[in-house]
Symmetry: C2
Subunit: 323 residues, 2 copies
């Protein structure tokens, strides 16, 4: 059987699997990223792990043909280089793809993690039946991906694409991690929820069950979602802002691209019932173009397997182009 | 010689030309749209004019192969139907393409006027050297078009695409003609300029040379641009708002699509020096993704010929697909 090694490289963990051409997954694995030890150490460990996988595969008569990987950060896809990844600083400007290729003698294909999410959901998940859609990942930050004509859109390969998290929805809104104001990420991410709660409590908002978690320095999106579910006013307001921001950004994307489908994943999408009504309400408030009967907004279906499957699919697609 | 008839259908005038495969233009013409006489009258006049053109062409040994047209409004491109055009109400839901086809026995290809602008500029204008770009037309309203992989992006063919004029840049901003708040069109169009001047003067702003034109009910974008050029505070402020809105919308599009090129046309683009500095300033303020060395923001180069040339190119492209 022919296989590829698929990797989802995050700041803490490398999630991986061996995946065949049809998307069947063998040998799931997780490795500590341990990026503090430096880029060379990281590539050496990863390379030797992959070489072992490959030997084991060969012993069973399987062939490993390539490595596909999704990496959080600004990626030059064609060059296989990370321009900037805040959680993988030692890999910035490091030629990760070519170094891993040297150690494994396998072709390496790399993309941004949100793109990998989109490719995965398009292949085996909620995007299977949709040719054109916006994908959003709600996590610490907000990632995005565009699937156009059935494939992930790569733009000019300038190191960013699908960055809906850094489209401005409120020009005078809260400060974003990127240093700008009013980005979607500043309203509709885990960071926006916990920071919003913290700021409100510090400004004197007392009647919230989140005050206790704040005192213990334990605010997190799950707590805030639970509190919103129980009607806690501050938590409800934070999720309204969250959904409102998403609604504006989705509306803008629909109007710009002439599309009507959005698929939402990422850890914070688990709080779906806390924000989806506000997304729809906002969309109806701000959008004069779409026929609402055609609009599809739905949850991604692969959970945290999306990026690994997308990395695998990326490798299969690129192999198919004759690399 | 093989030719197509190219039409730019506006509320007042139909501009047209006979165009060969290389984009050479013969027989420029203008007809009154006179849409008040109804759809059947319009198609009958247009059809008979085209049939005359065709006979004249045949007399010179030329063949007319198709009709291409750009129409202002919501268009179902594949069906050749206008869903909604505020300036061509009698044509709404009228099967314009098939009726014209019946009367001329020529295949008819139709697109939105902003798309035609984009196709034209891509073919023969400022977009020739750019594979991926956002096109914006600044007029009474704000139109938009996306050129992706060298071709105009059509989206899901749901009747709208490239509608950057109806992306929200200020959720609590001024009311737009579409009924929503804070659309780009409500900040960065001829309508936004004249309405903004009117409202400011009615609120008591006196120290503006626009007050006189307001009294005579003669406010228009050219007057406002001239006043801004002379440093009139109200006029300068209106153009700052204009450029600021554009800067946000362009930044959002760049981040979403991973592109760095924008080409701006339409009548109000003539006021370029009044707003372009503010566009750049805003882009630098709000965008954390792009490498500014790669950013290109430039004026369209075909003037009001863009849509006619685009309509011609549309016809040639579709003929090439074997229609």
């Amino acid at each position: 059987m022919d296989l590829v090694v698929a990797l989802d490289i995050g700041g803490t963990l490398v999630k991986g699997a061996m995946v065949d051409r049809e998307g069947n997954t063998l040998d799931d694995f997780k490795l500590g990223t341990l990026i503090g030890r430096g880029a060379n150490d990281f590539v050496a460990r990863l390379g030797s792990y992959i070489n072992t996988l490959r030997k084991n595969a060969a012993a069973k008569g399987d062939r490993v043909l390539a490595i596909g990987m999704g990496v959080a950060g600004k990626i030059l896809q064609k060059e296989g280089k990370i321009v900037f990844s805040p959680n993988l600083m030692p890999l910035n400007n490091y030629p990760l793809a070519s170094e891993l290729q040297k150690r494994t003698m396998l072709p390496v294909f790399m993309d941004n993690d949100a793109n990998a999410f989109g490719i995965g959901e398009r292949w085996k998940g909620a995007g299977r039946e949709h040719e054109n859609w916006l994908g959003i990942t709600l996590g610490t930050g907000v990632g995005g991906v565009l699937i156009l004509n059935g494939e992930r859109w790569q733009g000019d390969d300038v190191g960013f694409v699908g960055e809906i998290g850094h489209t401005i929805v409120y020009p005078e809104g809260p400060l974003c991690n990127c240093g700008k104001r009013g980005c979607l990420e500043a309203l509709s991410s885990a960071t926006a929820l916990t920071r919003g709660a913290k700021e409100a409590i510090e400004k004197g908002e007392k009647e919230t069950e989140l005050a206790e978690a704040y005192e213990r320095n334990e605010l997190n999106p799950i707590l805030i979602a639970d509190a919103a579910g129980r009607g806690d006013k501050l938590a409800v307001r934070l999720f309204e802002r969250f959904g409102h921001g998403l609604g504006i950004a989705i509306s803008n994307t629909f109007n710009l691209l002439g599309i009507t489908t959005c698929i939402i994943g990422g850890g914070v999408s688990a709080a779906w019932p806390r924000f989806i009504d506000e997304v729809w309400k906002t969309l109806r408030e701000v959008n004069s173009m779409v026929n609402f009967d055609q609009v599809v907004i739905k949850r991604a279906s692969l959970g945290n397997r999306a990026a690994v499957l997308g990395a695998a699919r990326l490798a299969w697609i690129e192999l198919g182009k004759g690399h």
